[in-house]
Amino acid sequence: MSRDLPPSLGRGLRALVHIAAVLMASASLAFVCLHLAPGDAGTALGEGLSPAARDALRERYGLDQPLVVQYLKWLGALAQGDLGWSTSQHRPVLQAIGEAFGHTLWLVIPAFALSLLGGMWIGTWQGLRAGSRGDRLVTWITLALHATPDVALASGVLLLGAGVLALFPTGGMTSDIHAYLPMASRWLDRLQHLVLPVVTIALVGSATLARHQRASLRAALQLPFMAWLPTRGLPPAHIRWHAWRNALAPVLSVAGILLPSWLAGLVFVEQVYAWPGMGYLLVQAIAAQDMALVSGAVLLASGCALTIARVAAVAHAMADPRLAADLPGSL
């Protein structure tokens, strides 16, 4: 394929084919997994439903047909951009996912910006004075944050911010009285609900990035040219800039892994704070055995992961010109 095309285009096409293949594989896996589970959307509604109503429901959504037929129907609809009908939310899957994804972005964008800023700043500060008492203290803190399970950290921040300090609400996106508030107070209400989950995610993110920034900067400071730069009479700030620039690439690639994993799986933070984003939606959909919704969510989440991994590879290459020459075609 790449013989008659310009090499960059060939690489891009191959990457697209690869992404499509992985997406299909993971969404199909989720589809099959949920169908193999005992019970379906009919049984998930509980004991109160009459058998006749249950059968009517199954017939209406085609759940009584064999698995292969259901899968092929789902594939056919997917080819037309239709992710199906959510049996638990009573609306198109695309609509439910779109709304939840928007809510997740509310968390992810500020948290990612904070993590990048905080993590790189802290890591640089540490890398420049590696081995000092301050560095060792911060290293311990970042390690502890890194080693805390997400659920535990989210619960801890919730306990501190909403329990002990009682400054912020315990969960949800808005208060019950949100709709009756004047415009300015509505924004304040939103912000208040945003603080704790964003802080939780940013803590994890900046700890992770700081650890990589520190290690990478330390390694860069030991490169041979760092001994040579002072002999040219360059000012220390300029030399530090050169070291920092050399240390950038690995940090960016870690950031490129963090971002998609957040878009796909803020499951625990959203669960702890009852934030109706992608992770929350996914857990609810699994509990209701809503096949179409789960498959759609998995499809979108892996799609995000793959696309951003691709973008991160390009950013990585831009940060390190040596890599631009042989950017791999597959991921």
Binding site: C33, L34, T148, P149, V151, A152, S155, T170, Q289
Partner: protein
């Protein structure tokens, strides 16, 4: 070289707790003591970490949970490292169609978020037994390790001593067993300790969502689920298992770093 003594001792301590937990625990972990008088009590001298909504002693449950959670974590890592070793070696050494297929499989699975796989599968398989959860966490955790093993075996396979072994006519199986796998051990050990931390986190997360081991059994994740809705009022239900999990994961990270430092010469 720094001897990995302190973190190893810490981790060893946890393993000892895991083994002797039934004798350390002051109460039976699943016993409901007094549903009327002893529900949701805060920490006191009789119940050091309080009691939960079903009047069970939280300290006993956390201690017993050490055994459950660490057994799941260690078991799943043994499983995933085993799969990773086989697949990784096959990617390097197996004949052509098998190796390309496996390499393609690893490339395809690598970017799929593990959490999504875990959630989808555990939802399909609930309620899980301890063994079921171990297998599930193990089978979703081998991909990155397989890639690592493949890279390492490729490197070792090119070295002179392997060439020499081939030259004197040793069988591929013997080369694999006596010359490749022993050299994999340090890299795999460093990776495995971090994988144990990830498995502890996975168990805690799945338990918290109610998708882990079936409820009355105490695991750190299950105890956190008991405290899920009442974090601000009955904080001891969350803090105790969360602290235990964090401590265990910290120990794993420390052991992993000590390994990297002493065996792989990664500077700190």
């Amino acid at each position: 070289m720094r001897h990995p003594s302190r973190p190893v001792r810490l981790f060893g301590g946890l393993v000892v707790v895991m083994l002797v937990a039934p004798w350390l625990a002051p109460y039976a972990p699943e016993a409901q003591l007094d549903l009327v008088a002893q529900r949701g009590l805060p920490p006191s001298w009789t119940h050091w970490l309080g009691t939960d909504l079903y009047a069970r002693d939280v300290l006993s449950r956390v201690l017993a949970g050490t055994r459950v959670t660490l057994a799941v974590a260690l078991g799943s890592v043994v499983l995933s490292m085993g799969v990773a070793t086989v697949v990784g070696t096959a990617i390097t050494l197996a004949p052509r169609p098998v190796s390309t297929l496996l390499a393609g499989l690893v490339e395809a699975l690598l970017p799929v978020p593990r959490l999504l796989l875990l959630l989808a599968c555990s939802a399909a398989l609930t309620p899980l037994s301890g063994a079921g959860l171990t297998i599930l966490i193990g089978l979703t955790g081998w991909v990155a390790a397989a890639r690592l093993v493949a890279d390492e075996t490729r490197r070792i396979n090119r070295s002179d001593f392997v060439l020499a072994a081939r030259a004197i006519g040793l069988s591929e199986w013997r080369i694999m067993r006596r010359h490749l796998w022993p050299h994999l051990q340090p890299v795999l050990a460093a990776h495995a300790t971090l994988a144990v931390a990830a498995a502890i986190s996975a168990e805690a997360g799945l338990g918290f969502l109610g998708l882990g081991i079936a409820p009355p059994a105490p695991s750190w994740g299950n105890i956190m689920r008991d405290g899920a809705g009442v974090v601000t009022t009955q904080w001891w239900l969350t803090v105790a298992p969360a602290a235990a999990a964090t401590l265990a994961m910290l120990a794993c990270h420390q052991v992993g770093e000590a390994f990297e430092e002493s065996v792989l010469m990664v500077p700190r």
